[in-house]
């Protein structure tokens, strides 16, 4: 089943199987548990297992197995995903949260391409997500277009709006670039609030997705089991997340990834090597915005409602914080980070008005304890491939 390893020593696959099974179990547990004490225990248990795995070389073994057996990894993830879906099948809220986590994760993969790979700064991710959402709403109102095109339209319009920012983004860097995108994020929100054509502050209603006759608003009945209609959205967002992940992976592994590294780390060197810095930055910026717009359209259709309050500067910050907490530049990091950032405030509902305070303190603790993020980016290994 697995391709023989080029090295003489075959890599054990069981750490990989264990790791995926563990991740799936942890996800289902975190989504399902609502009791605070049990949740605390589960969190402590998961953290302890992760730390122990890191301490005793489990993480390294898993990574080795994953890089040697990419198809096994993909197959395992698929099996795990189906298992999680089955466990959560009638838990509407749990599924909504999983889909939301996946949407945030995908947007953050786009941000990883922009910020982690190309070294751009984007503090307006929520604005691009919002662009996608509003595009879906407006196209939906006009009617006639199939939803596949509506979703795609969300991504394309985000790319178009983003292209207005290309010049400032190319000309500035660091904190100056942070300002241009921040300013754009703020003005986008004010614009939505003021503009009556787009529903104004009251927002717009949007019907659910209907892809090629597959109505996402209906519950599914498979083999005598009833699956909540949110399963549709989890499947769609899961597929999109996987595609984005593969795209980012290909980008990172290809020469483009190396070029982007050079552009990020040393622009002077990059231009000495004859790299067209602008081209690669535009590519990364566009890709990221496309993902944001696409997922924004899905998000709008899933929640059935959009309003300016969903796409504030604060929401952009949440997305940037996912990228940073995950470990800038490591696309796998966005998954656990998105899970924490999206799920944690929800799980903290029981402390009511103290929620935001505790959330901020927890993020500060993570930043101090793991300055490189949950899953730190690896330095590109130089592989001497003998052919």
């Amino acid at each position: 089943m697995t391709a023989p390893s080029p090295q003489n020593k075959p890599v054990a696959v069981w750490p990989l199987i264990t790791a995926v099974a563990f991740a799936a179990a942890a996800l289902a547990t975190l989504v399902l548990i609502d009791n605070q004490k049990i949740l605390g225990l589960a969190l402590a248990g998961i953290a302890a297992i992760c730390l122990a795995a890191a301490r005793f070389g489990g993480v390294a073994a898993t990574e080795a197995a994953a890089s040697e057996n990419p198809w096994l990894l993909r197959g395992l993830i698929l099996i795990a995903a189906v298992a999680v879906l089955f466990v959560l099948r009638d838990d509407n809220f749990g599924l909504l949260m999983v889909a939301t986590v996946l949407i945030y994760a995908t947007v953050c993969i786009g941000l990883t391409i922009q910020m982690g790979y190309a070294g751009l700064t984007n503090f307006a991710a929520a604005a691009f997500v919002g662009t996608g959402g509003y595009t879906a709403a407006m196209l939906g109102q006009k009617g006639g277009l199939p939803d596949a095109l509506v979703l795609l339209g969300g991504g394309l319009v985000a790319v178009f709006i983003g292209s207005l920012l290309i010049l400032p983004v190319l000309r500035t860097r660091g904190h100056y670039a942070a300002l241009t995108t921040l300013a754009f994020g703020v003005l986008f929100n004010v614009f939505l609030d003021a503009n009556e054509l787009l529903g104004g502050p009251q927002g717009l209603k949007i019907p659910g997705i209907n892809l090629f006759g597959w109505n996402f608003s209906n519950d599914l009945h498979i083999l005598g089991f009833t699956f909540s209609f949110y399963v549709n959205y989890v499947i769609l967002t899961g597929v999109l997340t996987a595609l984005a992940m593969i795209l980012a992976g290909l980008l990172d592994k290809s020469w483009i990834g190396v070029w982007l590294d050079v552009v990020r780390l040393d622009e002077t060197a990059a231009s000495v090597f004859g790299l067209r810095i602008g081209t690669w930055k535009i590519l990364a910026f566009t890709l990221g915005n496309f993902l944001a717009g696409l997922m924004g359209a899905v998000y709008a259709k899933m929640t059935g409602f959009i309003a300016p309050a969903n796409f504030t500067f604060g929401d952009s910050l949440v997305m940037v914080s996912i990228v940073i907490l995950g470990g800038i530049g490591n696309r796998w990091g966005v998954l656990p980070a998105a899970l924490i950032v999206v799920l944690l405030p929800e799980k903290l509902q029981f402390i009511q008005e103290y929620r935001l305070l505790l959330y901020a303190i927890l993020v500060i603790i993570i930043l101090i304890a793991r300055p490189d993020g949950l899953v730190a980016r690896r330095v590109r290994a130089l592989r001497m491939e003998t052919r």
Binding site: N92, M97, D193, Q202, E353, R355
Partner: protein, 394 residues
Amino acid sequence: MVTITKRAFAALATASLLPLAFGGFDAAFAKDKVKIAFVGPLTGALSPHGIGGRNSAELAVKLMNADPNTKYDYELVVLDDECKPNIGVQVVTKIASDRSIVAAVPHYCSATAIATVDIFNRFKLPMVVWAAVLPEITYANKFPEVHRVSGILIGQNRIGAEFMKARGYKKFVSFVDSTDYGKSMNKYFTQFTLENGNDILGTFSVPPDQQDLSAELTKIKELNPEVIYFGGLTPLGARLRTQMAKFGINAQFEGNSGIMGDAFINAAGPELTEGTVTFFDSPPITKMPGGKMFTNAYKAAGYSEPPEAYGPFAFIATNLVMETIEKVGPDRAKITEDLGNVKDRPSVVGPITFDDHGQNITPLTTKYVVQDGKWVVWEDSEYAAGKRKLKNLP
């Protein structure tokens, strides 16, 4: 510290009721637990209202549970919607798909409520909105699950416009916040003011978190209106009233439900707020049957935050839900059906009657004026008696 006092109060209440309940001690223990949900903003700028509503709903549940004659033991599940539609959709999906929750008392913010009514309908969860005031919540659809005890903002504006016309005011400036609330307020204010043949010299819309209003006020000073109408919430309202004075603008200040409550007077001060008129969908609850009981119980419960203007509405919405459960049992469909029949139900904010859209159509819109740092009903005030005068009276 707050929780300790709350607990102490609960313990005290239980202890004092114990002799009474002694006969039915076993029965009390056998009571089934029934969960109802409260949703409102507990974080962010609007949290005083959310927390005031939460406390009031909690108080209703406590008082109900202290009564040995009830059939069920109620538990309030409290959720924060942050006044954001997407978070609202999330938390409502959570309570709606939790079958152990049989009814809900949701939302302060209208945009959030408009976003979630579909979910209540989809999952057949009966609810009674406690504070959001935009007409669309009840009237955009005809969902049997959706009810609302708070009035819609049309009534406030109609009565307000008639009142100002009767005083003889002619020239108005509209100053609203740029949220759904402010825009809707402006819409009905404009409609009724123009119907009455009065002039609106200018309309200003600013984000609710804008601090400096000097550019707008400079313009307003130039327009020189007799009345500044404000459609927004307390923080911005207090800012506007304070900065108006600093600019030497001596116009009459007219507000509505958004600035009702002590917070407005505290923030702008009794001198500046003196003579402010406002229109709110409830008479002073201390004058209503049972209102004193609410105020006293709230005080006794030791909450450090005031109930705010809509606390009594959260209280009665929660009570309404619990009374219905007592009557028909903890069943979503039956609760929905019975809530539809609510008619002339007495409450601390006046009788409640739901129309076919679940809207309470009997709000007692009352005119208030600030007199010596307190909200006083217009008819009882020294202004109505002619001892004091509103500003800029023609």
